[in-house]
Symmetry: C2
Subunit: 662 residues, 2 copies
Amino acid sequence: MNTDKNILESEIDVLIIGAGPSGLMAAYWMARCGVNARIVDKRGTKVFTGQADGLRCRTLEIFDSMGFQHRVLQEGHVAVEANFWVPDGRGNLTRQGPHCSRKVNESPFRNMLLNQGRIERFLLDSIREHSDLQVERGVIAEAFEYDSAKASDPDAHPIAVTLRTLSDEEANPSSLRAEGGPHKVASGVARGSLLQDDWEELLSKSRAKETRTEIVRCKYVIGCDGAHSWTRKQVNIPLEGSSTDHLWGVIDVVPITNFPDIRRLGTVTHPTGTILIIPRERNMVRLYVPVQAVEANVPGEGRHDRSKITLEMIKHRVQVILAPFTFDYKICDWWAAYQIGQRIAPTFSKDNRVFLAGDAVHTHSPKVGLGMNMSMQDGYNIGWKVALVAKGVAQSLILNTYDPERHRLAEMLLDFDRHWSGLFTESEDEEKAQSMIKVVEFFEDFADGRKSFYGPSPLVWKKHDDSGPTASASEGCNLIPGERLPPVKLRMQADGNVKWTTAILKSDGRFRVVALTGDLRASTQRSRVEALAKRLSSGRGSEKSLFDRYTSLTGIHDCALDVLAIHSGPWTEVEFFDFPDVFHPFDTVHGWNYDKIWCDDACPWDRDCDGTGYERWEVDRKRGAIAVIRPDQYVGWVGELEDVEEMIDYLDGILVTRPATA
Amino acid sequence: MNTDKNILESEIDVLIIGAGPSGLMAAYWMARCGVNARIVDKRGTKVFTGQADGLRCRTLEIFDSMGFQHRVLQEGHVAVEANFWVPDGRGNLTRQGPHCSRKVNESPFRNMLLNQGRIERFLLDSIREHSDLQVERGVIAEAFEYDSAKASDPDAHPIAVTLRTLSDEEANPSSLRAEGGPHKVASGVARGSLLQDDWEELLSKSRAKETRTEIVRCKYVIGCDGAHSWTRKQVNIPLEGSSTDHLWGVIDVVPITNFPDIRRLGTVTHPTGTILIIPRERNMVRLYVPVQAVEANVPGEGRHDRSKITLEMIKHRVQVILAPFTFDYKICDWWAAYQIGQRIAPTFSKDNRVFLAGDAVHTHSPKVGLGMNMSMQDGYNIGWKVALVAKGVAQSLILNTYDPERHRLAEMLLDFDRHWSGLFTESEDEEKAQSMIKVVEFFEDFADGRKSFYGPSPLVWKKHDDSGPTASASEGCNLIPGERLPPVKLRMQADGNVKWTTAILKSDGRFRVVALTGDLRASTQRSRVEALAKRLSSGRGSEKSLFDRYTSLTGIHDCALDVLAIHSGPWTEVEFFDFPDVFHPFDTVHGWNYDKIWCDDACPWDRDCDGTGYERWEVDRKRGAIAVIRPDQYVGWVGELEDVEEMIDYLDGILVTRPATA
């Protein structure tokens, strides 16, 4: 216990250390669920240039559930076709492609490219929209005390973190310098390369503040503080793995070249290595460039020093590999040199009190284009779990699922990275383009949440506990616990407007009981749905309905559960009031609730809404099914309309029930 | 001349009076083109609730060219299907519909509903993105001097406007009260009904300022100051027309009703009148309600007084008309009472120095759902013309086109309004639903810019000057001078990304030479395109190329003209460098320009990009055509690839040529 009375002390539920993409994702949940939380970052400002830029369609689906996907679509660059250029044997390069992803229409979104700085902007705006939570910048965590004896006491604040406000010079060591590279960027951040909202933040960036130190006692800490994670070191979790000797350069430039595909995603292969071309917003192109080890040789030491790599060296390598095409630039937004390393922490959490996300627990080659996605999905995964537990809505045992759900994926990512990066440094090979296509296809299913995503746990109900991770509750059904709900565009019954399920399933902290009610025009089916409604409208204990059974996010939702009906009848032949009350609850101030009943029917004015949802889900259009969707849109449980008892078992294993009322 | 030395005096090019939708549209152009302009509004804040809410797809196309259509799509409500409820003769109501617009797929966008306050927000953000121009709020124009002797001197500032900063109380007479209604709104503006960005503006709304008076001398004044326009009165232009005796109420409520279509656009007919239902964002519904004249009778005077109409009266009328369905509400965001009047000014401008837009020159029933669109399109039309003339890019004669282009449409609007409003007050009629459908269909073509929009003028070239307003330059071609370019989704040749032409044709102040180059795989066609490029690359006088012939927006564009190529070959079989230099100009800093060459080919990952552009434009896929598109996306001129001389004649009649260089 600190005895210096001049040092401020406070208690909060959750402290997030690091405000990059993964930290901001976790913070989003704190904002959305009203958690007593803080988020600090040692840097004086957000990222503006450089860093990550790849967005998988699955990440865009998540953004859709958070409400800012449209900003990415407006600013970003689509990249779903790739070209592979190889030597033609006569001194020229020849194009193989374009190769378009086979799965490109399985998501409402496409893989896109947009600077990390813009993603942080959207996350910050979204957090501000839902709360007063603000990133405290120029604040460093410098001491950590953890009382493991209190780990199992839900009301305890077993962690004490000492925070210190940095001086302006400490927080912005080289003012506007971008991080990530060993050298100062060649071209600074100029107004021309920043959008208005980022520019304003830069102008008002944290000024010299009164330096102060404080102790924050917290229930949970989420460490999102990057590859050199301070948080990870406090809990003595190592990063395991190794660096290779391969040295790489990465540059963001406005290219001057007669290479015709400079604005298209692709690779160019040369006997000495392969470069990766990534077109970006505002005429910028990112190039990943293998730099010959000899250029960074430390004489007589048999090792390489990446600090010896210069921008000029990288440019020269591009010129060699792209020849006979020309290459130059006048504008370089950002550049860096790095060494490939695959490292992973053996565990991502400590006593379910400290959690680590993103680069803090897994690092790999940036060329995979998945790093920012994995990091954000880590933060997204732990965020809702910690938020719901901190608010007393979910049982703390769900925190056990963070490590297995994310660790396995991180291992798959590193495995993929080893294959993929190898293809860039291996010598020239006629089969290279084909190999790359195969590796990418293998990768896509796992990267986009379509194959064996999350294994069995209290959050992922497997009927037969048969260790087969893809075993579905309903035979042949494509609603698979542990995988995301395949996105479908539906019409709202009340108003006929259309939405993708990714937007309907808002990231608002609620579990969703999704009743695929089939076709209500058949009286037998209507009876089944009425029986389901009746069962939902009573609980299991003394509560009035299932929706009163669990505690809720006080002041935010009436209930920890939301309910949706998605019917398969024609939009014009089924009426809103054909549905039982449970699907359109009445409120004395707001009237009937109109946004819970949806229709899987084709819309005459929207081609994407084609009425094939039931087919994609492989659910019988007449009989329907019922599923519970987790707050992160992953299927948790699935069954027949009559399987409500089992569904309640599932929910009882996750949520906190209200005390029985007399 | 003012002699009081304490009164500030200044000179600017353009003064915009009124910062509603039409004024902000005009201001957008000033921001975009770098015009020395100011915009003032007597209100202390922007609009937050109530007022207009209907957005036609044509307006969304314009927003797309300005870059914020995505924000409307995210927040607004689509309304393209309408239901007409009529008495069934047995005391109940029966639905006729849904009736879906036949033309719904002719635009990338759908008609939408969103509060005017949000549209103002998007316009303000867009203005800020392009300039430092800010709306000066709480500022009233109170004296006007115009020296008509100077009207023809391009360098003169013939108008002097005295501006006075209002006190806080003057600018916000009832603080947060919404305008437009005769009474205080029932429910004030609460945080729950405002989005974060609007809320922040409200908090920081203009505080009490030092009251001051100043005289601003200007070249042009654009009056967008509403139905009681002060500007219009200064130039002695009357509003002509009349009010009917019909009294109407309009309410924005969160309804409590068992009427099943309350969230769908539609009408409900009753022997005493018809109500119009308009679903809106955030569960709000707007209702337009005819109020029986007797309720507002002024005893013994044989006239009606709309100030006698109460919210309770309007609610009661809804209850009567919706019966046997119930109707009530607890939340009312805004309400107003009004009298239908069709009024129009005989002219919209004075000496090409003062221009009037929006409600200042035409008023009609709000039920048309076109008022805000017409007003914004007025401001959009005059804005670019004044901006380009003020900057010396266009000849002042283009200002002559404002009145004929917009006046005729305003007359069509009023004509439509008389038909449409009549249908709401005529007694019950079995044919009513059918009549409504017919009137709406008649209306759609004109409202969305598809039929006979703008007549012949220096800006709209008609080959045979044959007075037929739809006569096209190329027989059978659907690129018709005076109408908008029919929107098509295209792929960028360089990167394969897709965009609607509405986004490609940015509202950035440039005329666009759009070469539909046909299929370059045929050598004869390639020769034609090379000949075209050669002709474009020389001018007519001493200039190096056509693009050097005209003065440009200094500091913003190199040239008053932009050039685009849209080819009809397969994306994968045509190469970027197959095109002549004029379509990918080279810059020593930015390299080749990649965004001028587009391809009308189907895209494997975007259903809307279906490669049917040439067919929609009715242009031969092999031979192509060439068109000049005005800065507002209307076709100005169209011809064969060989018709460049005629095209230069057209441009010479509009743009200012540079002084000949030695």
